[in-house]
């Protein structure tokens, strides 16, 4: 059943474009001809596209395809915490409706919890055609075992072709286990979802290698096709107040809902400022601030704009501000409407965390700072002068 890849040595000119194109380092040159190391090659085909001489052929064997026609519908796992549906769920319902439309199938919301009857109306209003509804005290708060069991049982009974879930701490824990249990393909942190109508495939696009490249992934022979999506990547579903979803109420015996782990307590850590991951506006400070005391300048502007305060790794590593504010590869990924980077040079590790912001403003005294390459508006200047001036102007505009 194996696909295969071949290099036609007579066509290969030794130009090494394929070597450079391979993201996995699977190609090297031997006697001026390209050689693919099959132990490393993932048959992704990047080299095929890169070769100008059509010297590489990727053969995909068509045979052995399973009959997957019984799998239908797009499911969205709707995460709720303490009875409140998380906004990521609405974003997935929005995206899910689009996908369901293209496939000509239903959009189904899946919700587990306790005392969540009122959520049916909310999910209907967001466009769900069908709601799989499981309400039981054991499901009040998320625990891996019961949620996994229930989702597995639902999938095994109703054969969804796609399951979408938020890439949250709960979501990622949950669907990773479910995917293994039902032998499904799972792609994490998708930034784009599309449908290949001919093959009825979900095309899952996501960043890799720290966001330096994008990969499109499919699950050709397994169902359901599962994908997680990060917060604020997709647009929220609109409201369809007159929509009435079909509700499928399921209940399961105690054995299914039991949990090996026990939740003893839920601790909320109070953030004095707006939650970074949810924020629409973020003002961030970096090494260019010069010292921890200068974060006050950032906090002032953030207060006026009702924004969250972010920081680069340099500022966090220097102990100027706690790690919970760090934006970047090893910190949080944010996607606000407006990101103001103050005294941040714009190393790739930081950009990965914020480059999908709608508007980026960069303030830095170094005109060659990489951040200016992606900033919508850039100011070359002293952060400690410019930011207070901005604060003053915004105060005026917003009448504060």
């Amino acid at each position: 059943m194996a696909d295969s890849i071949t290099i036609f040595l007579d066509k290969c000119t030794g130009c090494t474009l394929c070597v450079k194109a391979c993201p996995f380092g699977a190609i090297h040159m031997a006697n001026k001809k390209a050689v693919i190391d099959m132990a490393v090659c993932t048959l992704c085909g990047a080299c095929v596209e890169a070769c100008k001489f059509r010297a590489i052929e990727l053969k995909k064997t068509a045979g052995g395809k399973k009959d997957l026609s019984k799998y239908k519908d797009v499911w969205v796992f709707c995460e709720q915490k303490q009875g409140v549906i998380q906004s990521i769920s609405y974003e997935l319902l929005g995206e899910g409706k689009k996908l369901a439309g293209e496939l000509g199938v239903k959009l189904c919301a899946v919700i587990l919890g306790s005392g969540i009857e009122s959520k049916i109306g909310e999910l209907s209003a967001r466009g769900a055609d069908k709601i799989y509804f499981v309400d039981h005290p054991a499901l009040k708060s998320y625990q891996d075992d019961p949620y996994t069991e229930v989702l597995v049982k639902l999938a095994e009974e109703y054969f969804p072709e796609i399951i979408l879930c938020g890439a949250t701490t709960i979501g990622r824990s949950l669907v990773s286990r479910v995917a293994v249990r039902i032998n499904a393909g799972l792609t994490a942190d998708c930034t784009a979802l599309d449908i290949d109508k001919k093959e009825r495939l979900l095309l899952q696009t996501r960043p890799a290698f720290g966001g330096n490249i994008m990969a499109t992934i499919i699950t050709p022979n397994h169902r359901p096709q599962m994908a997680t999506v990060r917060h604020k990547v997709m647009k929220e579903a609109g409201t369809f107040s007159s929509n009435k979803a079909e509700v499928v109420r399921k209940s399961y015996p105690e054995a299914v809902l039991s949990s090996r782990t026990r939740l003893l307590d839920v601790v909320k850590e109070i953030e004095e400022t707006v939650n970074l991951a949810e924020a629409d506006i973020i003002v961030s400070g970096g090494r260019g601030l010069g010292g921890p005391e200068n974060f006050s300048v950032i906090k002032e502007l953030a207060k006026v704009l009702n924004a969250a305060v972010g920081a680069s790794r340099a500022a966090v590593d220097s102990d100027w501000i706690p790690y919970s504010h760090q934006v970047g590869q090893t910190g949080k990924t944010v996607c606000p409407r407006l990101y103001i980077a103050c005294g941040i040079s714009g190393q790739i590790q930081h950009l990965i965390g914020m480059q999908s912001s709608d508007i980026i403003v960069a303030i830095n005294k170094d005109p060659d700072a990489p951040i200016f390459k992606i900033a919508t508006y850039g100011i070359v200047g002293d952060v400690l002068q410019v930011v207070p001036a901005l604060t003053k102007e915004f105060k005026r505009i917003l009448n504060k």
Binding site: R177, A184, G185, F209, I218, L263, P367, V386
Partner: protein, 266 residues
């Protein structure tokens, strides 16, 4: 005579390219791989540190395990220099092209071969794939309880553990029976640097090497064939273009910018 509980800890690590070094060649729009060294996945350093701390606290043995090409042995040696006692490399051409399903299956087969264990610790995610799926995948294959995003192990004994699981709003306190699997986040500890004794041990230690046959894995579930997902396209994202640089004196620029952003902030 009361027998001291000896804890058997397994740490799953991955060798990844140092993504802080990975760049795109602007001329060919492809990844520059030359000079990019391979390192232990940054999150795994926290897993190793936590495992070694547990060993120091309670007594026991830490085994570092990885699935990878032959050079992944270097990552295992580094793990030894950081305090792990034994190292196992699972390597076979048959694993090539594994997605997270096949990877977690392969690792769980290797763990079954290792025998009884008390705790498996994994880093939250790998910096090249960033999926965070392998850890939970392993616990699903082995059918053991898991707690992900662990930021503190408050108590642990032979039978159970009480840990703090990080959430978006704070943390949960979760109790789990052993054996179990944890994935850990950076908040859990500060990884140590290797010690001289550790480095000398790493030089002399013999890494156990297993192939697909050694771990008695079902060949249909390995590598590309065992992977439900398939990469069909790799491309470089359209680079975000720079906008305009505002010039002028501070007060003027501030006014101009505030005007431009008026709609965004209201």
């Amino acid at each position: 005579m009361r027998q001291k509980f000896i804890m058997n800890i397994i740490v799953c690590i991955k060798q990844v390219p140092n993504t802080t070094d990975v760049r795109i060649d602007p001329l060919t729009n492809t990844l520059i791989r030359e000079g990019v060294e391979s390192v232990i996945n940054p999150f795994d350093a926290y897993a190793i540190e936590e495992a070694v701390r547990l060993k120091e606290r309670l007594g026991g043995k830490v085994t570092a395990l990885t699935m990878g090409p032959p050079q992944a042995e270097n990552a295992l040696k580094e793990a030894i220099s950081l305090g792990c006692d034994e190292a196992v490399l699972v390597s076979d051409r048959k694993f090539a092209g594994s997605d997270t399903w096949a990877t977690s299956y392969t690792l769980s087969a290797a763990i079954k071969k290792l025998g009884a264990f008390d705790v498996i610790i994994c880093g939250k995610q790998a910096s090249d794939g960033d999926t965070a799926q392998v850890g939970p995948g392993i616990s699903a294959h082995l059918n053991i309880p898991q707690v992900t995003y662990v930021k503190k192990i408050e108590q642990i004994s032979a039978a159970s553990a009480k840990v703090e699981r990080m959430t978006e709003e704070g943390y949960d306190i979760v109790e789990t029976p052993l054996p179990c699997l944890f994935t850990v986040v950076k908040e859990i500890n500060t990884p140590r640097l290797p010690s001289m004794r550790g480095m000398m041990k790493a030089k002399s230690v013999k890494v156990t090497k297993w192939t697909a046959d050694d771990i008695e894995a079902d060949p249909r579930l390995l590598g590309l064939d065992g992977s439900p997902t398939r990469v069909v396209k790799i491309f470089t994202p359209a680079p975000r273009k720079g906008g305009e640089i505002l010039n002028g004196d501070t007060a003027d620029i501030a006014r101009e910018l505030a005007e431009l952003l008026k709609d965004a902030v209201i």
